[in-house]
């Protein structure tokens, strides 16, 4: 027994049974069945409609005839279409930039105060994100009311002119962005606050000893440490903001003179209210590029993590 050295068995020995595999196969069958409802839901109500909209976009208004890229050609000729693209891009980019900036700044303020008070402030500051946007936008609509605006009441009291919040194109564009920033900034605030808390305090102490000032600490430590979370929140928010419907629909419904339309509200107007589903589908398809870019970055990130692991 003591000298029972086992000779190299290795690969030369025939493997008698591929057993044990049956267990594994049984297990993956159960696993597949458990995920099946998810697969069915996504396939039927997300993937299929998304692909179907590609087909829909190539039909004429009554959906009887194939018109190829006719709907797109028609759109490209309309000035309003280019205006909507421009407005959507301005709307989404500026809203996301301000949401991210405000979220970053306010997260620092919350992070600065003693830990036991933070929960209370965080709770208060997240309220705009919790209220259904359709409901809070109604409040904004009322605050912007042309004759009874509570903002204008304040402005006139301090000697300024009343502002046509939703009445003039430029102000209306400003207002929809303002409301969107108000609604979305708390989300960034919460994300950045969580990220700030995950930066080890020693790094700041080490930087202070190395002679870094306040600004250098943010630039060389906070931002690099938060890079991932900033990237993912901006990406998320960009998609959601590009696709925004509620705020514009309720505040301006695209007006005045269609100057505040974004893809979603215009597609709704053309497709559902105007009864031209293919044209509406065409317009909403322009969301695909931004989705593609987002998907590219996310997949790249997942793959990179996969190879690191």
């Amino acid at each position: 027994m003591a000298n029972g050295v086992v000779q190299a068995a290795g690969l030369s020995v025939p493997r008698r049974r591929r057993s044990g595999r049956r267990l594994a196969r049984h297990k993956s069958t159960i696993a597949f069945l458990m995920a099946l409802p998810l697969i069915a839901l996504i396939a039927a109500l997300v993937i299929y409609p998304a692909l179907y909209s590609l087909h829909l976009a190539t039909l004429n208004k009554s959906m009887e005839r194939f018109v190829g890229l006719g709907n797109f050609a028609f759109l490209f000729k309309r000035e309003l279409f280019w205006m909507v693209i421009k407005q959507t891009v301005i709307f989404a980019l500026s809203a996301v930039i301000f949401k991210a900036l405000i979220g970053f700044v306010v997260a620092h303020f919350v992070h600065n105060i003693p830990a036991k008070g933070q929960r209370k402030w965080r709770g208060m500051l997240l309220v705009p994100w919790v209220i259904p946007p359709a409901m809070s936008t109604l409040a904004w609509f009322w605050l912007f009311d042309p004759s009874y605006s509570a903002f204008n009441w304040v402005l006139t009291r301090v000697g300024l002119d009343a502002v046509p919040w939703l009445g003039e194109p430029l102000w209306a564009r400003f207002s929809v962005i303002l409301v969107n920033v108000w609604y979305g900034a708390p989300f960034f605030l919460i994300m950045y606050l969580a990220a700030l808390k995950s930066v080890p305090e020693q790094l700041y102490e080490a930087a202070a000893i190395d002679g870094a000032n306040w600004w250098q600490k943010i630039w060389y430590i906070t931002l690099p440490m938060m890079r991932n979370i900033i990237a993912i929140t901006v990406l998320f928010s960009l998609i959601v903001t590009f696709a925004n419907f509620d705020i514009v629909r309720i505040l301006t419904n695209g007006g005045p003179i269609d100057q505040t339309h974004v893809f979603a509200t215009w597609a709704f107007q053309l497709g559902i209210e105007g009864g031209d589903l293919p044209l509406g589908a065409c317009v909403s398809l322009f969301m695909f590029p931004i989705l593609g870019v987002a998907a590219y970055f996310i997949l790249r990130d997942i793959n990179r993590r996969g190879t690191e692991a």
Binding site: I42, L45, Y52, A243, F245, D246, A281
Partner: protein, 288 residues
């Protein structure tokens, strides 16, 4: 610590509070203004004396709304839809998350990534093709899908399931593998591992996912605007926006009351379960 450093810190702290108060005022103005307006009579609103103050508080708007059949219908429709959507979402995403995080099968890795990507496909892209698809389902089967509140029970899971699955995958993945192995050896089947070990251990995740599913389906506006348009089929947000705003005669006291009551369920849930709410919010992104 030197005196100057302490002074500097105290100044930074003071400025932080100043700005926090400022931002809190900005962030809370619309809901507060909702509340102020909801206590006013139409007469007081149109007098426009001092919009930021209530001189003659009244609960008339509340009693009017809570006895209005239309509003109560919206509320009931919303409640039923949300409870059903939460149930369906949990029934789909919990087993799926368990399967994707633990059991694996051919293509499960790709599916997990796919779930995350579908979360990113906005409803804005889907409502028009769905509109058409519902129409031809009706042609084929004779079942009228459009313009019924219950159709929302079918569609809302597309908004909730991918995200809930995603955060449940994250919570399940954080459970040590030995825990399910111990349970398997103790004699549990996969279903028992899920119900007796994973669900209790990942309870915070389940709560966070439930909150998410509820608030999302309560707040959604686009699908109800497209698919549940007649007055007895509407749900709250869409119902308030489309029925109370009529022409130029805005009854703002009632609109604000309705909006406030419409915002109340998510706010109440948030007030009591804030930590779960925030955990769910941050889990989705940090694990993404």
């Amino acid at each position: 610590m030197s005196a100057s450093l302490r002074k500097e810190r105290r100044a930074a702290l003071a400025w932080s509070y100043v700005f926090l108060v400022l931002f809190a005022v900005i962030f809370l103005t619309p809901p507060l203004y909702m509340f102020i307006t909801s206590l006013k009579t139409s007469a007081e609103i149109s007098s426009a004396k001092l919009p930021w103050w209530v001189f003659h508080p009244t609960l008339d708007n509340y009693s009017a709304l809570l006895t209005s059949p239309a509003y109560l219908t919206f509320f009931r429709n919303s409640a039923v839809v949300c409870v059903a959507v939460v149930a369906i979402t949990m029934a789909i995403s919990i087993p799926a998350a368990f399967s994707l995080s633990r059991m694996r099968f051919w293509g499960s890795g790709a599916l997990a990534t796919g779930v995350f990507l579908t979360y990113l496909i906005p409803e804005t892209l889907l409502f028009i093709p769905l509109f058409k698809i519902f129409a031809f389902v009706q042609d084929w089967t004779g079942i009228e899908l459009m313009n019924h509140w219950w159709i929302l029970i079918v569609i809302f899971p597309t908004l909730t399931v991918p995200f809930c699955t995603w955060i449940m995958i994250g919570y399940f993945a954080s459970i040590p593998k030995e825990l399910d192995e111990a349970a398997l050896i103790d004699g549990a089947g996969y279903l028992q591992v899920l119900t007796r070990i994973f669900l209790p251990v990942a309870l915070p995740g389940v709560i966070a996912a439930t909150i998410f599913a509820f608030t999302v389906s309560w707040a959604d506006f686009l699908y109800p605007m497209a698919f549940a348009t007649s007055i007895d089929q509407m749900v709250l947000p869409a119902g308030i926006v489309s029925t109370l705003i009529k022409g130029d005669v805005f009854n703002w006291g009632q609109i604000m009351t309705a909006a406030l009551l419409g915002a109340a369920p998510p706010l109440v849930i948030y007030a009591f379960l804030m930590d779960y709410y925030i955990a769910g919010l941050t889990a989705g992104a940090t694990k993404g």
